[in-house]
Every structure is written in structure tokens, then in C-alpha cells.
Amino acid sequence: MSFFNVFKRKTSAKAVFLGLDGSGKSTFLSFLQEGKFVQHTPTMGKRKVEMDVNGTRISLFDMGGQADFRKLWFDELKTAKCVVFVIDESASYRFQEAREELDKILPMLRDNNINLLVVANKHDDPNAVDLSKIIENFNLFSLENVEILETSAKTGYGMANAFGKFYSLLTGEEIKKMTFARAISLFSPAGEPITTKIDETRFEQIALEGGFLAAITQFSQSKLEACAPGEIQFITFESEENGTFLVARTKNYIGSLLWQEDMGVTLDKSKEALKDLMFHVENACDPADTATVAFNVEQYITNLM
């Protein structure tokens, strides 16, 4: 996954993912591992996945959320450093049930100094409630040592931020969120703009939208051939004034990204990030539904800028 670096392993840590059935635990974990939305069947009891991050081997226990499996949670908590409690932000009719399960594990977290990250997932859903409602319904004001975040493991919204928080709670180390782009745009293969996001502290939107990006995209359309599913092609443009523009084409989209040297990431990393974004959109969206495509891109971009 392009968000995070992998180095030689030095230490290990264990985290446990809990929450009601259907809250999105498995999907959340898959997104951390693969950088894309993966639909899962229900988790049968529990499953374990491992990741290496910054020299730490992280063991992640994805616990089934069905009522029959909740008795298994306590055994895994005994040796956990961090718990991620996932809530379906769009299922307010289940908040009471979820709260009761959270309340059952809180004494153990307190007694064993286990850190807690509450993730309000499915932020992309039209029925998702405001984060303030989650805090109120789950009485999170009264808890110490808890972090609360909103995510969508479907669109990628907030996922990089969530991982940074989770890693910090698990290891005590900060992981710096990287900036991969100063501007990102997505177009249809015919050159119709779908969405653009710009670092507004640096540029005037009009100057970029009305000028450079459109011109580059038009030129790129003629140079980049149609792609088969799973294929991607790149062109690079250097601009003395603005930086390096990466333009990529996949089956259904043309994407462009502006890289500048002072972002602190290499051009190759930004290229990888653009590729991840475009394959995520290819995988998750119907290209005919440009409103949903734009929404998904805007959510995913929160990880890149």
C-alpha cells in the first residue's frame, strides 16, 4: 500500500478489532492492507492478519461481531495493546446494542491499560449521523485515553488518518501522514472533468482549472491509448513554475496529479498514489455515475493531500 513504509522488523504488537456484525471491521482491515475496498463474507469467529510497519510486526485480530462470537472477544483482549471498536455510523437503530457491547469491555481495557480507538465507519452512507451523535450515544466524553475518528472503508475517507492514530496508540510512535499531491484531478476518457482538488494554500483554483490541468489533459488524451481493465499508462510533464504533472490513464478515467519536491515524497511514491486512487475508483464505481465517482474520489483524496 503506498501510504505506509515497510522496514526491517524489530518489534511486535497486537490489536483487536471489535464491533457489531456488519460494522465493517473486515473491510476496514482489508483497506489498510490493500488500499482498496474489498467486500467480505461474515467473519467466522475470528481471523488474524499481520502487517509490518516501520519495523513493527502488527498482529491484527478481526473478531466476528455476531452475538454468538462476542464471548470470544475477552480471550483476545487479554494480550492486546490496542482495541479498535468499529461502529456503523449509518445504523443508529443499533447504537444501543453496540454501546452495551462497548460497555462490557471497558473495565478490561481500563484494568489492563489497553488503548481504545473508536472508529465511526461508513461515513459515505447517506444515513450516516454526525460524529457528535456518536460521541453522545456512546458517552465517549466520559472516557479517558480514547480517540475517535470517522472513516469509510468503502471510499477510503479518513483511512490514512485512522491508521496513523491506530499506529500511534499501538506503538507509542507517531507516523507522519504523507502528502502525495498538491492537486489532483479526474476526467473521463473524453476529457470531461469529474472532480479537482487543490491545495488552496498554494494555488488559485481558477488558474489551475482554467489553464494548465485542462490543457495537459487534452494533450494527454491524444497521447495515451485506451487501456484494458487493470492497465494504466503514465505521462509526465515538467513545469518550472508549478512542479511535475503526472497524468495517468486507466480503462475509464484520466487522472492527473501535481507533485512538488518540497512535499517530502519521491515522484515514484506520488505515481504509486495516483495509481492506487485510479484503481480504487475503477474497482468501486460505475463510470456512468459521475456524481458517485466524484464523491468517491473526494473521500479517497483525504489520504493523499
Binding site: 456484525d21 456488519g22 463474507t41 461474515p42 467466522m44 455476531q66
Partner: protein, 172 residues
């Protein structure tokens, strides 16, 4: 003499509020598996950590449970797929277990990925067809697929006869 005692399907539904359950069985599970043992049977037919594509082989006392886990498309829009398993109960006094596992994999392969899309009613009929098909070493017809067991057994050189007790070390 029947090769297999029973075919059962178990399920963990993709819908909210589901729990693992025994979905159907042919013939009825009792008396082969008593009511007291049915939870253990369920745990071994759809074991912890099971994911689609997994073959497992477990034991309750003197019987073996050979199972295959698969996903099943939900009939409802927006509901995730079910996790399901098909399991067969066999006795090592009647069948060579390792050879039966090979046959079972061939049966599943013959049904193919269509198992995810087979309608519920057909899926439940499948148990009886597998039971009769295996025990007669004949044909199993499920939806649009036919598995010819005598042909599979012959091609793959599968020998289902139980192991000779004299083969065991220390036999007398």
C-alpha cells in the same frame, strides 16, 4: 453399504443479527449426530476462521466430517454474501478418508463457482442428490451441472475401500 452417512449444509448469514446455524441435512442428522453433539458438529463443519474455498476434515469420536466452505450470493440488494459450508459425515470403518477427501474435492470442482449462485431451494436439494449419488457411485445433477462419479473415480484412480487394519503398525 452406504459410503456416506449424511450431507449437511451450514450457514452464517450476511444479514444483520445472524449467527452460525445448521441450514439443512439429508438424511436427518439424528441419530448419527445427537442433539448434544450438534454444536460441536456445527463448529467443525463451519470452523473458526473459515473463508470461502477452504476444505476441512475434522472428527467427532469415531466419525469424520469433511467440509467445504463457500460464499453464497445474497438475494437482497445491499446485503453481503452469506458464508456457507457443505459437509459430509463418513466413518473410517466404511471409507478410506484420504481417498474420500480427493473425491469430495472433485465433486466440489465439478459443481464449480456456480455454487455461489445456486438458488436456495436447489442448494437444499443438492444434499439429497450428493448423498444418493455418492452412495450409488452414480451421477449427481445439480442445476446445470452433472458430476459423473464413476467416471471421476475411474479417472482419478480413487479407492474408497477402508484401510486394511493389518496395515497399521502393531496390528495383529
Amino acid at each position: 453399504m452406504a459410503i456416506i452417512e449424511n450431507v449437511t449444509m451450514c450457514k452464517l448469514g450476511g444479514y444483520e443479527g445472524s449467527n452460525p446455524e445448521i441450514w439443512g441435512s439429508f438424511p436427518p442428522l439424528e441419530p448419527t449426530i445427537t442433539v448434544e453433539d450438534q454444536q460441536e458438529f456445527l463448529d467443525k463443519s463451519l470452523p473458526t476462521g473459515a473463508e470461502p474455498g477452504l476444505f476441512t476434515s475434522n472428527r467427532i469420536r469415531n466419525i469424520f466430517i469433511v467440509a467445504y466452505t463457500f460464499s453464497r450470493k445474497s438475494a437482497e440488494q445491499g446485503v453481503r454474501d452469506d458464508l456457507a459450508s457443505i459437509s459430509v459425515i463418513i466413518s473410517d470403518k466404511k471409507v478410506n478418508i484420504e481417498q474420500f477427501e480427493i473425491l469430495f474435492k472433485e465433486i466440489i470442482a465439478a459443481i464449480g463457482s456456480e455454487i455461489a449462485n445456486i438458488p436456495e431451494q436447489v442448494l437444499l436439494q443438492m444434499m439429497e442428490r450428493i448423498y444418493n449419488g455418492v452412495n450409488s457411485k452414480g451421477k449427481i445433477k445439480i442445476d446445470k451441472v452433472t458430476a459423473d462419479l464413476s467416471s471421476i473415480i475411474s479417472k482419478k484412480k480413487i479407492h474408497l475401500e477402508p484401510k486394511d487394519p493389518a496395515e497399521f503398525k502393531g496390528g495383529f
